[in-house]
Amino acid sequence: MKFQTGHGGVATLGSYLIPIETWKVTATAQAEVFRNSKSGGHPLREAAGVDVEVEITFEFDFDANPLAETPGLRAGGELTNVHLPLRSTGLPRWEFPHLLAERVLQEMGTDGRLIVKILAHSSGVFSYPA
């Protein structure tokens, strides 16, 4: 068996292919905690909602400035149809119809690379890799 996880990973924003370095997805569940007279001191938990945080790190593209109006990776901006395939551009992949960009970080490295990080949260339904 040959492991190649992450090999050829891409991120797309609509039809725009983001020159990614890394991406990270953290899905979380909001837990409702119950403690009652018969639970014996052990909390009982039930999911009361899910959320997902997406962090994408990519190189700044001078030919298609990602911070410009198009594609517009700006704080407060909405990123639509973001796909994070696990391999190449096909399936399986995370699918986020709507992401709200909440933080945009640009970082100049001494190795000459200009790195941009987008921290976003999903708005609405999203899909796990399938």
Binding site: F34, R35, N36, K38, R45, E46
Partner: protein, 271 residues
């Protein structure tokens, strides 16, 4: 995964729920207990209705479900319930918000109810004074030597009256006819410890409320005026052949009708 099931539930008034603890406050005048309960969202109104109590009337028969009492201090009864949806927010068939569970904050306050199956409610007693001007047509008062006080110089007589009110909670119907019928009557027999004729029915203030399942109930405050002299007595001067003093008065010569007719107050269920 369902966190709450029968393994940790209790049954309260026939409804499955989960007991999340209590908070108690005890002061000289305001003891209170607050209990946190969780029940299924669809059971919440049935549970609240039982917690708060209600009354129904079917074919003239009144059924009273008294509010539930607090186990640790049975003189505290449920008076208020706050509800918050808990768990994954979803939608009912109409798209309105629905939850898997309801978290109830159940407040117990000192009881205003009897334990005899009838809610007699809150009581108030207030005092006032009535002044009677003595008649001018003859002597009414005497000096210590037996001389009559000149009616023109006679002082008025003051005596105390008491207004008593009692609120009946959660009545299934509004007894309008009963109230109208008994207005301006006096008690024909002993009533709340007062002798016949000394209590006059002043009327009732009503407040409509809804039970947790939408049925109408009424809170009714009945008001009575106690007078240490019977309401149908007036002061008569001492004329020749009559000793005078407090005497019954009538509206007719045949002595059949008094200003405040005696009536039976047992229908108020205040005993």
């Amino acid at each position: 995964m369902t966190a709450l099931d029968s393994t940790t539930s209790i049954t309260l008034a026939g409804v499955m729920c989960w007991d999340e603890g209590v908070r108690e406050e005890f002061g000289r005048s305001s003891p209170r207990a607050v209990r946190k309960l969780v029940c299924r969202w669809t059971d919440r109104l049935d549970l609240v209705n039982r917690l708060l109590g209600y009354a129904t009337s079917t074919g003239g028969t009144t059924t009273v479900a008294q509010p539930l009492t607090y186990k640790g201090a049975p003189f505290l009864v449920c008076t208020h319930v706050e509800i918050e949806g808990t768990g994954m927010l979803g939608a009912d068939s109409d798209g309105d918000a629905a939850y898997p569970y309801a978290r109830l904050r159940v407040i117990y306050d000192p009881s205003e109810f009897n334990n005899d199956g009838h809610e007699t409610g809150n009581e108030n007693l207030d005092f006032s004074s009535e002044v009677v001007a003595l008649p001018m047509n003859g002597p009414s008062l005497y000096w210590s030597n037996g001389d009559a006080v000149d009616p023109r110089a006679a002082p008025a007589i003051h005596f105390t009256t008491a207004t008593f009110s009692r609120t009946l909670y959660s009545q299934p119907t509004l007894p309008v006819n009963l109230i109208f019928t008994l207005l301006d009557t006096v008690n024909q027999g002993p009533f709340l410890g007062a002798a016949a004729g000394k209590v006059r029915f002043l009327g009732a203030r009503t407040h409509r409320r809804f039970t947790a399942t939408g049925a109408k109930n009424w809170d009714i405050t009945l008001a009575f005026l106690y007078r240490s002299i019977e309401h149908n007595k007036s002061f008569r001067a001492n004329l020749s052949g009559d000793a005078g003093g407090w005497q019954d008065i009538y509206l007719d010569e045949s002595l059949t009708q008094q200003p405040y007719p005696p009536a039976d107050y047992s229908a108020f269920n205040l005993a």
